[in-house]
Amino acid sequence: MSGDPVSVDPDVLARARARVLGAPSIPVSAPVPAGLTAASDDERVWLLPAWPDGATPAVLEDYQTAPMPLDRPGMTRRVLAAALRCCWTRLDDAPWPGETATVAAVLEVYAGMTRGDAELARRWATGELRRLADTGWLLLDEEAGTLRPGPRVAMWADDSLASLRDLLRRLPQPEPLAEPEPEPPAEPEHLAEPEHLAEPEAEPLAEEAGAGE
């Protein structure tokens, strides 16, 4: 009863695979099976669930249905915010595919955001980074010590991102990467302006960042 290979539609098989694996990736050249959303960078395509009518799992709250339980949702989301602060540098663009950042920079940003022992915070955050990578929210390369946004952030609706952009502008800045920045003129000018607008909140945070470093 190992199954007749002829009778299985490859489309169905791919969908079943995607269902079991969560958010698997396939090469860009492979066909995307029907009924799935594809999030692609230049090399690979991640297969994600497609939801009707532009809904997201946030709609569960409207139906008073419990979402998937998380151990420490607050901490997980703060780590995600810290990671996005480092990887989503051009905030006017979409978060996906984002850019590569070092894990150390993310941990630094996270330690600057929270109170208490910075070393402990880094250790907690490392665990959360792994959990986020397991569920497709980050792409973590532990050997190289780098990470990128995961394919799931591609499913955020663009009109829900405004508050997140505002938040990320207020977060402490990561240390500049060792590699040269791709376009130095574009970045500072669009970062400088909103910070000037949000001056009362931005200033204490900037002080914290200075103290943390």
């Binding site: 969908r15 079943a16 995607a18 269902r19 079991v20 694996l21 969560g22 958010a23 029907a34 009924g35 799935l36 994600l48 669930p49 497609a50 009707p52 997201t56 799992p57 946030a58 709609v59 409207d62 139906y63 979402p67 998937m68 998380l70 949702p73 607050g74 901490m75 997980t76 989301r77 703060r78 995600l80 915010a81 996005l84 600057g112 955001m113 929270t114 109170r115 208490g116 569920t135 497709g136 929210w137 799931r152 955020w156 829900s160 991102l161 508050s163 997140l164 505002d166 938040l167 977060l171 009362p200 909140e201 204490p204 914290e208 103290a211 943390g212």
Partner: protein, 422 residues
């Protein structure tokens, strides 16, 4: 025509009364069957509550009505001869014997089925015409509820009002009956509006066609009032009842659409209906609903708004404190000017030399002997010179007070401004 309905109502109780049959057939009824049966029974109980002797006297199984209907149909086919007892039993062979016996006894005792001739040991029976009409009425009520019956009543009453044989008393009775019905209806809707939303959703059909009913009722009211102006008091009652009904149904509809807006659940079907669909649909029907969909493996979802909330609620390095007040003008921080400014020092020395004019000391009243506006400025400058640690001048005041009512400062203490050093 209303009277016709009332007669029909009086004629029906034969099937509204029964003894309880213990009918435990092979397949156990499911919860859904019980619910459906309960709903049907609810209609019966409501309709005949006014006629039943006590609660237990109403049918407690919808099937009992089917027995009565089968019997009546058989009587209609049988013609003038009627049916014998065995024939009746044969017609109702689908039902258990004790159920049949029960129904027959109740129907006979209430006069829906009687002997062809009223004499003892009569074997042939006939059915009453009124009962069939009553049953038709009941079936219609079950099919589309009291709502459409209200439509019919309004239409019939409209015809009655146009009828030349109609008397004012009959019109008044009709209007009062309608007003009472509308009152009760609006009370029921109000209760629903204030009750749980699930119940309101279940009873939503009561809100259908409200506008049309209101229009018809107002037209009828106008017709009555035009033909019999002396009925204005009754018509006022009717009008108030109609408006109350309109308000109540609008409010219930508003609540319903409000809740539909928040839950995005625009289907007003009760859950039982969905469950019945799920049970009765074919496998293909069920599969078609999910055609083209793949269920994702369970994964946490982080909405952008949730990320923002988490960061803002998270522990902070410093306790949140109110922002310090800031000027609306650009602020360049502390001024670089400190007290040791050479120009200010020079200015003061110049003033002191001007006052002394080469002398070593000069009386203060002499210096102030001018108009007070200029004098007080001079006094302030002299005090600054006196207080400045680097300038070799001082002000020395002595006791005494010279009052000069006509002078520019009206009083002055004698004092000198003198040079202390080189």
């Amino acid at each position: 025509m209303i009277r016709f309905h009332l007669r029909a109502l009086v004629a029906v109780p034969w099937f509204a009364v029964s003894a309880t049959p213990e009918q435990e057939s092979g397949d156990a009824p499911s919860l859904d069957d019980v619910l459906v049966g309960e709903a049907v029974l609810g209609v019966y109980r409501q309709m005949f509550a006014a006629l039943a002797r006590d609660g237990g006297a109403v049918v407690d199984d919808p099937e009992l009505v089917d027995v009565a209907e089968t019997l009546l149909a058989a009587f209609a086919d049988a013609g003038e001869d009627g049916l014998g007892r065995e024939q009746m039993r044969y017609v109702c062979r689908r039902y258990p014997a004790e159920v049949f016996e029960n129904r027959l006894r109740v129907l006979k005792s209430l006069g829906a089925i009687r002997e062809v001739f009223p004499k003892p040991n009569q074997l042939r029976y006939r059915a009453s015409f009124t009962s069939v009409v009553g049953l038709m009425f009941v079936r219609r009520m079950m099919l589309d509820g009291g709502q459409s019956e209200m439509h019919r009543l309004l239409a019939l009453e409209q015809l009655n009002v146009a009828d030349p044989r109609m008397t004012p008393d009959q019109a008044r009775a009709g209007a009062e009956g309608l007003a009472r019905a509308f009152r009760l209806w609006s009370v029921e809707l109000l209760t629903l509006t204030n009750g749980t939303i699930e119940e309101l959703r279940e009873q939503a059909p009561k809100l259908w066609g409200t506008e049309e009913i209101l229009i018809r009722a107002e037209r009828l009211h106008g017709a009555i009032l035009r033909r019999w102006p002396q009925l204005d008091r009754t018509c006022t009652e009717l009008r108030a009842a109609i408006y109350a009904y309109g308000d109540a149904s609008r409010r219930a509809a508003a609540r319903l659409s409000d809740s539909a807006g928040t839950t995005r659940n625009l289907t007003l079907l009760p859950p039982e209906t969905w469950r019945t669909f799920a049970r009765t649909a074919t496998r293909d029907d069920l599969a078609a609903v999910l055609d083209g969909f793949v269920f994702d493996a369970a994964a946490p979802w982080h909405e952008p708004a949730a990320v923002v909330t988490a960061v803002e609620d998270g522990p902070r390095t410093t306790p949140p404190r109110p922002a310090p007040p800031r000027p609306s003008m650009p602020d360049h921080g502390l001024s670089d000017e400190t007290g040791g400014d050479a120009t200010a020092l020079e200015r003061l020395r110049e003033i002191a030399e001007q006052v002394l004019r080469g002398r070593d000391r000069v009386a203060v009243e002499e210096v102030l002997d001018r108009d007070w506006v200029a004098g007080r400025r001079m006094l302030a400058d002299l005090s600054s010179v006196h207080l400045h640690p680097e300038l070799p001048y001082r002000l020395v005041w002595s006791d005494g007070l010279a009052v000069r009512p006509d002078g520019s400062p009206t009083w002055v203490s004698p004092g000198v401004f003198e040079r202390t050093g080189p």
